[in-house]
């Protein structure tokens, strides 16, 4: 534990971490859950650095294990010798002596081949280790440490250690989404989690969640029918049943289709159908239409525009690949008369008792994602159509769908980017917009440029002159300037 001040002829003052002579550097110290910027002299030793860290993170010095660029920092080393400079990031792992209920990965055991100062506590902690192996499966309740929205969700708290421990909910959601995209099993795990299922079976809670979304609120204002639907607990419960059980949803939809086609033949039945459509579906679509000239759902629903009748298509076969070429669809079919068969990918999007929002997840694949850029993004998901179904069934997804409908950018970009499909920035922009949509419903109906005007200026003032990159970063982070900066500095699209 010696400082290396002697090695550096310039710096003579070494007693504290903040020396007046040596220059101070700012090093980011990052745990899987947390991040702090620590100012320290550039000539400091690892020990001194740990002193500062232990103060900041409220942990004992010997509990700290520092990793930089794949190497563990030993107390006897200096920051210099590892090449730690201003602006770089060091990873921190905080060992805790006991790990009961502490699912979060902030605890660790003694280091491996490097006999660092933590060696002294290796005895007790390895003894504790064997006992905790049993208890890692243990308490379903949350590790008390993280103000993480997923704490208290039993198994889901492990998600927090996948690097999602951020207090910023939007960032969290976004990370969750990207995790979901890359790991389909996770979603089914989430869905299977009894706690999630419980939550989803509580209609009040779901209603609150949906209503809390500003997009929904707008929509509801415009169409009292919708709030009517939402207020009907029976309806909500049914919807949630479906959301929980995608297989059931498919069945239901198919039943609906059959029932509908049966209804047609009943005298007066057709009118009933038509009424149902005009009462419910049309206001919704016209609400979407208000925002912009063309109705993006027309491609999807295949029937909304003009056609007063609900789609005649019967969904007889297993839902085909929603991302196949948008072939057989739409308006011509929608306008068609009775008994038109030939299920198209758009299928029937009738709002019905089972599906009040009229969302046909299969059909959503079509109009919106016909751009190759989007297709490439969705390739992973398309490998597992179940995943898409699951994703779209989640209640908050529905509100996202609403917001998708209301965002003119998506619609205007959709036809626009198809011809210019090759352009990378357009694709990326769309992808990132999509991600951002997932990240919680962009509340604004402006273009991101306008919306992030202020943040763009900030970034420009800081010296990030690549406006395009700035914009993309802002979109990805949902307008969070700091996160955008990190993005710009840290990662490059590869």
């Amino acid at each position: 534990m010696e400082d290396n001040g002697g090695e550096d002829p310039v710096n003579n003052n070494n007693d504290t971490t903040v020396s007046s002579e040596g220059s101070i550097i700012k090093v980011t110290v990052k745990t899987p859950k947390d991040k702090e910027e620590i100012a320290i002299s550039e000539d400091a030793s690892v020990t001194q650095f740990k002193e500062e860290i232990s103060r900041r993170f409220k942990a004992k010095q010997d509990q700290l294990v520092l990793i930089f660029a794949g190497k563990i920092l030993k107390d006897g080393d200096s920051l210099n010798q590892h090449g730690i400079k201003d602006g770089l990031t060091v990873h921190l792992v905080i060992k805790t002596a006991h790990k009961a209920g502490d699912g979060a990965s902030s605890s660790t055991s003694c280091t491996s081949q490097v006999g660092s100062s933590s060696g002294s506590s290796s005895g007790p902690s390895s003894a504790a280790h064997s006992s905790t192996v049993g208890s890692t499966g243990g308490p379903a309740s949350a590790p008390p440490q993280t103000p993480n929205i997923l704490t208290g969700f039993g198994d889901l708290s492990s998600l927090s250690s996948m690097g999602m421990g951020s207090a910023n909910f939007m960032e969290l959601q976004q990370q969750m989404q990207s995790q979901l995209m890359s790991n389909p099993e996770m979603l089914s795990q989430i869905m299977e989690n009894p706690l999630v299922q419980n939550m989803m079976s509580n209609p009040d809670l779901m209603r609150q969640m949906i209503v809390a979304n500003p997009q929904m609120q707008q929509l509801m204002e415009r169409n009292p029918e919708i709030s009517h639907m939402l207020n009907n607990p029976e309806l909500m419960r049914q919807t949630m049943e479906l959301a929980r059980n995608p297989a059931m949803m498919q069945e239901m939809m198919r039943n609906q289709d059959r029932a509908l086609s049966n209804l047609e033949s009943i005298p007066g039945g057709y009118n009933a159908l038509r009424r149902m459509y005009t009462d419910i579906q049309e206001p919704m679509f016209s609400a979407a239409r208000d925002q912009f000239g063309n109705n993006p759902f027309s491609a999807l629903g295949g029937n909304s525009d003009g056609g007063v009748q609900p789609s005649r298509t019967e969904n007889r076969e297993p839902l085909p690949n929603p991302w196949g070429p948008p072939s057989s669809t739409n308006p011509s079919e929608g306008g068609g008369g009775t008994g038109t068969t030939g299920s198209s990918t758009t299928g029937s999007t009738n709002p019905s008792v089972s599906n009040p929002l009229g969302v046909n997840s299969a059909s959503l694949g079509n109009g919106m994602f016909s751009s190759p850029g989007m297709q490439s993004l969705m390739q992973q998901i398309s490998e597992n159509p179940q995943l898409m179904q699951n994703m779209l069934s989640a209640p908050y997804m529905r509100s996202m769908m609403q917001s998708l409908a209301q965002n003119p950018d998506m619609a205007s970009q959709n036809p626009a980017s198809s011809p210019s499909a090759g352009t990378n920035p357009a694709q990326q922009l769309m992808m990132q917009q999509m991600l951002q949509m997932f990240a919680g419903g962009n509340a604004s109906s402006q273009t991101p440029e306008v919306q992030f005007q202020q943040q763009l200026e900030q970034l420009g003032a800081m010296g990030f002159i690549n406006r395009e990159a700035n914009l993309q970063a802002l979109i990805a982070t949902g307008g969070d300037v700091n996160a955008a900066i990190e993005r710009l500095l840290g990662s490059q699209p590869s």
Binding site: T28, K30, T31, P32, V65, I67, F68, A69, G70, K71, I72, G83, G87, L88, T89, V90, H91, V93, K95, K99, G103, A104, S105, S107, T108, S109, C110, T111, S112, Q113, V114, G115, S122, S125, S126, H129, T132, V133, T136, G137, S158, S161, M162, G163, M164, N183, L489, G490, S491, Q492, S494
Partner: protein, 145 residues
């Protein structure tokens, strides 16, 4: 290094980028990587560190690895081997070498992947049902090689 065509990024550029990312802690903080030797001009030998994921038998352990990026990187995947002893499917028990066929990121390597991707994939493997409860050697042991 390889002759770079219009699309492919030259090897050294890529590796420098990865070096920077490693120093800046890009990612979620559960893996770390950096040059084994700062003087390595060819940027070939790297060390990696994986923090064992929670709720697995690897929890609280830190696994050190050696990653070697050959001359054809990133067109070819890197060689990866564990230094810290570990019992994990796909890792040779004798020397810690990671079996290319067992790790999806290596088996289906793409030139857009990176050292980080490989490390994160290995960490994910630790969380698989078939791995997460494998009995492990005592801590502090290294593969003899």
């Amino acid at each position: 290094s390889q002759a770079s065509s219009v699309i492919k990024v030259p090897r050294n550029f890529r590796l420098l980028e990865e070096l920077e990312e490693g120093q800046k802690g890009v990612g979620d903080g559960t893996v770390s990587w950096g040059l084994e030797d700062d003087e390595d001009i060819m940027l070939t030998r790297w060390t990696g560190m994986i923090i064992g994921p929670p709720r697995t038998i690897y929890e609280n352990r830190m696994y050190s690895l050696k990653v070697e990026c050959g001359p054809r990187y990133p067109e070819s995947p890197p060689f990866v081997r564990f230094v810290t002893k570990i019992n994990l499917n796909g890792v040779h028990n004798s020397n810690g070498v990671v079996d290319t066929r067992a790790v999806a990121a290596l088996a289906k390597w793409q030139n857009s992947y990176s050292i980080r991707v490989v490390l994160q994939e290995l960490r994910r493997l630790m969380m698989c049902k078939e791995n997460m409860k494998l009995p492990q050697p005592p801590e502090g042991q290294v593969f003899s090689n």
